[in-house]
């Protein structure tokens, strides 16, 4: 088990969240769950909190999460991840899914 907490700069949410949380994915083999919650106290950053069953990939995680923060406007949110060995493409997809669910007005 490895844990990781880090904030990365990100543009503020482009559309207002219309709910107080959104969840994507489940904790299962090769999968992960992503919970996204508004965090208005820090509108220009996204705060990640990760727990993974596969140790030794902190650098890859850091790169993937920094990449998502740079590409998507997720400033002002807190994202918690529970991972059970998801592949990078699944991680990006779940993050995007969670963001879509939080801000359904997004075209």
């Amino acid at each position: 088990m490895e844990t990781f907490q880090h904030s990365f700069p990100s543009r503020p949410l482009a559309w207002p969240a219309d709910r107080s949380w959104a969840l994507a994915g489940v904790v299962g083999s090769g999968n992960l769950e992503v919970l996204i919650e508004p965090n208005p106290a820090a509108p220009d950053a996204v705060a990640y909190d990760l727990q993974t069953s596969i140790p030794g990939y902190a650098d890859s995680w850091k790169a993937a999460l920094a990449d998502f923060a740079a590409h998507y406007a997720v400033g002002g949110t807190r994202i918690t991840l529970h991972d059970q060995g998801a592949a990078p493409v699944v991680i990006t997809m779940r993050l995007r899914q969670a963001l879509d669910l939080l801000t359904p007005a997004q075209p």
Binding site: M1, L23, V27, G28, L35, Q51, T52, S53, H82, D83
Partner: protein, 292 residues
């Protein structure tokens, strides 16, 4: 309306699909972070809801309590937190004398958590009977391949009613456990047709263990539940003795039978090979004259 396969949905999607639109209000939702204190110590990641979503909703305007398990998370297993949520929900249903619907997808007790899971299942079964004593029906819905086994199989059998689809399975020991104890010649757990013909929804319906067999479609599952939202099935000495007599007769009738097809035939299926391919509605209708 297009068919929405129940077995493909996740726990919250199932809940949303079977209740009145927008009526589900979750109790202890994911942001509450009520999670297992044991799993991280074993190197297993936790889930925000410990594999169980619980809440209130309405079906056809009638208020109910309901829960849904996530089979993908540690096999839908019942740990301490999972069972505490289940017990609390059942106690609320008993207090308010409201029906409680359990969407089951579980291999039973979470053995990783030792005695707390075992005790949790026992408390949940006790709470099911508290509901029944209060006249609040408890309905188990079993419609996914993981099914209801172990402690959750027992709990399902303790409920007032069971709604199953042909994807659902109900038993105590799972197929792999039976094979390990009895040998591959007696029970081949890799033989899916055998497994479903001995513990699947169609067989459970033929034996009278499932009260409703419905298509793998959220609208059909919802309709199956709605039909059973009336009075609870009373727990009386006479009812228990009648059930015991039924089971004794079943044991006697099928003691020498070695194939599930023979059981199907004895229960009114004229052509088991063809009936295997029927959807639930057709299957039930074909039994109409001699339905159990």
């Amino acid at each position: 309306m297009s068919r929405v396969p129940y077995h493909e949905l996740k726990a919250r999607e199932r809940l949303a699909a079977i209740v009145d639109p927008g009526s589900f209000a979750e109790i202890l939702p994911p942001p509450a972070r009520v999670m297992s204190p044991y799993l991280p110590k074993l190197g297993i990641p936790v889930a925000f809801d410990d594999g169980l979503a619980i809440g209130r909703a309405t079906i056809d305007g009638k208020p109910i309590y309901l829960a849904a398990q996530t089979g993908q998370f540690v096999g839908g297993s019942v740990g301490e937190v999972h069972s505490a949520k289940l017990v609390g929900l059942l106690k609320a249903a008993a207090r308010d004398r409201l029906p409680c619907v359990l969407l089951i997808e579980s291999g039973g007790v979470r053995l990783h958590e030792g005695s707390s899971g075992e005790i949790g299942i026992a408390e949940a079964i006790r709470a099911v009977f508290a509901c029944r004593a209060a006249g609040a029906p408890v309905i188990a819905v079993i419609g996914s391949d993981i099914g209801a086994y172990g402690g959750m199989g027992i709990l399902s059998a303790c409920c007032d009613f069971r709604v199953m689809t042909e994807h659902g399975r109900l038993g105590i020991s799972g197929p792999i456990v039976i094979e390990k104890w009895m040998g591959k010649a007696a029970y081949d757990s890799a033989d899916r047709a055998l497994v479903w013909k001995t513990s699947g929804g169609k067989t459970r319906y033929l034996l009278g263990d499932a009260n409703a067999l419905v298509n793998d479609d959220t609208a059909a599952v919802r309709a199956g539940i709605a039909r059973l939202l009336g009075p609870a099935s009373p727990v009386t000495l006479a009812a228990i003795e009648a059930r015991q007599a039924e089971l004794a007769a079943r044991l006697e009738q099928f003691a020498a039978v070695t194939s599930p097809e023979a059981i199907w035939q004895a229960r009114g299926v004229t052509d088991p090979a063809a009936a295997t391919l029927d959807d639930a509605e057709t299957f039930v209708a074909s039994l109409a004259p001699a339905a159990p």
